[in-house]
Structures are given as structure tokens and as C-alpha cells.
Symmetry: C2
Subunit: 280 residues, 2 copies
């Protein structure tokens, strides 16, 4: 249903055909749909229907896809491979990659604003803006620096990751929970938010670990690039085994945060477990 | 008031300081504030208070500024001068120009979503999305082609301009009118929309004309670039004098559309007249 809603949304756009094709390439070319799944299962975790989160699913995946397309650009990470295929700027040129990314960013908001409940639509837009802007801030820290010089290295890493990956994962979970009917100040929303913060950081630590421990063929993108680009990562700061211990701690924290939600949070629990695996 | 609201909005951001500085550079470095002025005077034209449009003013200027920063990038128009200063990617690097542009796009929506009236906030977001996406579609046509091959040249030009410049100008006016209290289906909204469509096209024709007829020092950006880059423009298709006649026709059309709104539309009328001038 998530995939179908994404496809229908993109194919319904009244855009230049070449722009639609570029957006399809960036958005529909595989991907694990982790953020939509988090939104879907967050809606269920608070007692709602997964399908109530479909607009939110489409929105967060558009924002995620935009960020990949722009991050891959030569002036940014300069990646030529993504999900086992040439990146969009390799496939259709840098200008199109910039413009298609811009379009996907705007479409993220666009996907929310025809929601029949105005109050909920606005809440979703607020969460999406926070997630998008947190992600961009994290990317600035990661790519261009500017963190407080006196912060210890593990604190700097946490600040980067909390924003770069964590903000949109947090938004995905909170948007799903809002669609599922959880008020902003409810214990259910607090539980989902604490879960999201733990899995968001965990996801990035595992990503850093896969970058040093997996061959390129397995991951579908260039690996070992963190070391060659001199970026600080969890494994580079605290070593591989200690990083896996951090992963395990964060998994426990995530599962604890949603334990009070009982059976309904089973989907979120499964997601946390699969995100913590070495062979994900 | 428009300038102050923009400044306060940007300076209140909890962003990395270097990102805030880049956004300030792109957003607060002069500029005529045409789109905010159109929003402001559209609010007044429908009988509202100009100040009711301040969120809309900030939103449309953020989107305009984002588009300039990304359009100036080497992979796009490759411009090194804007408003008489180095463009953002020359000043602070391409990565920052990409990220600051992305941030400004998201902030455009962000600027609207704390509006106390949820229904109005959503209407404004809808108009902003339409304006932003129309602008991006126009940029795709202009930079990368893809227009229907059988369309005559003046029709192709109109399609490019209607989107590239026209969509955001239309959104600015409609957002202002919405803030001023005009319902979507009111004659006042229809008048403001027709005005916006005329001045949007007029603006681009005058811009093309200034590109061939003014020296760089006067315009504050590289001129005569359309001819050297082989872009089709109004002067290149129909000549300079005929293009000025188009400007005059569009000015008359714009003024006619808001005539029923009487005195209240005086600000919009003045703006149309000043936009039609050769020495604007």
C-alpha cells in the first residue's frame, strides 16, 4: 500500500515528463521504505489504522529521496552509485538532480496538504519541517563542520547523527502516531518519540559499521568512503565492538520505550530488531 | 515591516550558525521584495490589512531566494554575480549553496505553519506548493528543454515564463488576498489572480528586455547572458519594440483586472506600473 500510494502520487503530477521521470528514478528505484514503515507502524502502535498514515508515508519518503539525490551531488558526497544503480546526477545530469531534489522537497509538504482534517494536516507539516530542517542542519555539520570546538568527539558525533538521520526518523514516527490519533502531549506520543530517538541514532551507528565491514556489492553503494573522506564515525571513534554494544543498548532503549503500548507496537518492535542486525 | 519580519524569522532559527549566515546572505542581501510587496498589496486590495500577509511575505521571499541560490549554481546558470555581490556558492562554496537553498525551501512552508488559523494556513501552504512546483517545472523547461516540439515559439516561451516566473508571482498575490480575507471563489480573488498572471508574464518580458538593453553595472548581475547561452527570449523571438508593446498590453490587462476593486487596489496598480518601466 505504501509503494502504491507513492507511485500514484508521483504519476498524478502535472509536471514536465522529464521531471516526473527523474523523480520516479530517485523515488521509486527500490529502497527499504524504512521511514514510511516507521510511520505506518507508529500509527498502529498508538491504536490507529496503518492506512491512516499513507500521506505521511509518502511525505517522509519524498523528503528522504530528495536528501539522497542532493547528498550524492558532486559538490556534496560525490557518489555515483546508490541502491546498486547510477545516482540521479550520473543518470540525468547535475541540473536535473538539483531540480528534481527541489521538487521532491516541495512535494513532501504537498503530499500532506490535501488531508481533509486541517488541524492534523498542519501538525504533520510542522513535524515534516522540523525533520527536514534538522536533517539539513546535520548535513551542514557533517559536510562543512561548524560544531562547537570544545565538544568531545562522541558528543559531536551524536549531534551530527541526531540531526542528520535522527530528525527525519523522529518526524516519521511522530507523524505516524499523529495520524493514528495520538495527541501531541499523550504518553503514547512520548513513547513513540523516545523509540524514534533511539532507533534514529542506532540506524546511523549501524550504517557507519556497515560502511567499514561490508563489501560494496552487498550494500549497493560505495563503501569505506567514511574512512577515505576523513569523516568521524562511531567505529572510528570507539572501535567496532564498542559500537555494536552501543547498537545493542539503543535497541533495548527503543523496545523499552514502546513496551507500555503492548501488542499494538509489535510492528515497531520488529523494525527496531531488524534495524539492529548486522545483515540488514 | 516586511524586511523586519524576514530578519526576525531568520535570526530566530535554531540552526548551525554557518547555515544561518548563508541563509542571511542569500535572503537579506538587498532585493526588491517584489513578491512580498505583491502579497501585501493583494491583502489590501481585497479590503484586508497589509500586515495580515506578513507570514505569506516571508514565505514567498524565502522561496524566491532559494530559487536564486540554486539557479545560480555552476550546474545551472553558473552565475557569479547577484544583486551586485558574489553569488552564495562563490562566497561560501557549492555544498553550502545547495544546503542553504534546501533549507530556505523548507522554511518557506515553515513560515506559514504557525498561523493561528489552521484552515488559512493550509490554503497558504497549498498556494505556496503550487507556486514552488510551477517555478521548478518552468526551470526544467528553460534549462533542460522538454517542451512539446510542435508548439510555436511564442507559445513555448509563454509556457516557460508562466511557470518559471509566473507561478510564484501568482501564488504571492493569491496568498496575500487569502490573508486579506478573500474566499477562493470570490470575484476579488479572481481579479487579483488575473492581475497576477498578467504582471507575472510582464515581469519576465521586461527582465528579458533589460538583459539585452542594460549594462551589467545597472542590473547588478551578468547581462546579455540569454543571447550567449542561446536561450529563447521575447526580444529574440519578436524583437525589442514588439516586446515592449507586449509589456504595455499586459500592463493594461493587469490594471483592468483590479479596476473593480477600486481605491483599495491602488498599491497593486502602482506596482504594475513600476514593473512595466524600462528603468525599474
Amino acid at each position: 500500500m505504501i509503494e502504491k500510494h507513492l507511485e500514484d502520487f508521483v504519476r498524478g503530477l502535472m509536471f514536465p515528463p522529464r521531471l516526473v521521470a527523474a523523480i520516479e528514478y530517485g523515488l521509486l528505484g527500490g529502497g527499504k521504505r524504512l521511514r514510511p514503515l516507521l510511520a505506518w507502524h507508529s500509527a498502529r502502535a498508538v491504536g490507529g489504522d496503518g492506512a491512516s498514515s499513507l500521506r505521511a508515508c509518502t511525505a517522509v519518503e519524498l523528503i528522504h529521496a530528495f536528501s539522497l539525490v542532493h547528498d550524492d551531488l558532486p559538490a556534496m558526497d560525490n557518489d555515483d552509485l546508490r541502491r546498486g544503480r547510477p545516482t540521479l546526477h550520473v543518470y540525468d545530469g547535475e541540473a536535473m538532480a538539483i531540480l528534481a531534489g527541489d521538487a521532491m522537497l516541495s512535494l513532501g509538504f504537498h503530499a500532506l496538504i490535501d488531508h481533509p482534517e486541517a488541524g492534523l494536516a498542519l501538525r504533520l507539516c510542522r513535524e515534516l519541517a522540523a525533520g527536514t530542517e534538522g536533517m539539513i542542519a546535520g548535513q551542514v555539520y557533517d559536510t562543512l563542520g561548524g560544531l562547537p570546538d570544545d565538544a568531545p568527539e562522541d558528543r559531536r558525533l551524536e549531534l551530527i547523527h541526531k540531526n542528520k538521520t535522527g530528525a527525519l526518523i523522529r518526524a516519521s514516527c511522530r507523524m505516524g502516531a499523529a495520524c493514528g490519533g495520538a495527541p501531541d502531549d499523550s504518553p503514547a506520543m512520548a513513547g513513540v518519540t523516545a523509540y524514534a530517538e533511539a532507533v534514529g541514532l542506532m540506524f546511523q551507528v549501524v550504517d557507519d559499521l556497515l560502511d567499514v565491514t561490508q563489501p560494496r556489492e552487498r550494500v549497493g553503494k560505495r563503501t569505506n568512503k567514511d574512512a577515505t573522506s576523513g569523516k568521524v564515525t562511531y567505529p572510528s571513534v570507539m572501535g567496532i565492538e564498542a559500537s555494536w554494544r552501543v547498537v545493542k543498548d539503543l535497541e533495548r532503549k527503543a523496545l523499552g520505550a514502546i513496551a507500555p503500548l503492548g501488542q499494538a507496537a509489535g510492528g515497531l518492535a520488529d523494525l527496531a530488531r531488524s534495524m539492529a542486525r548486522r545483515d540488514r
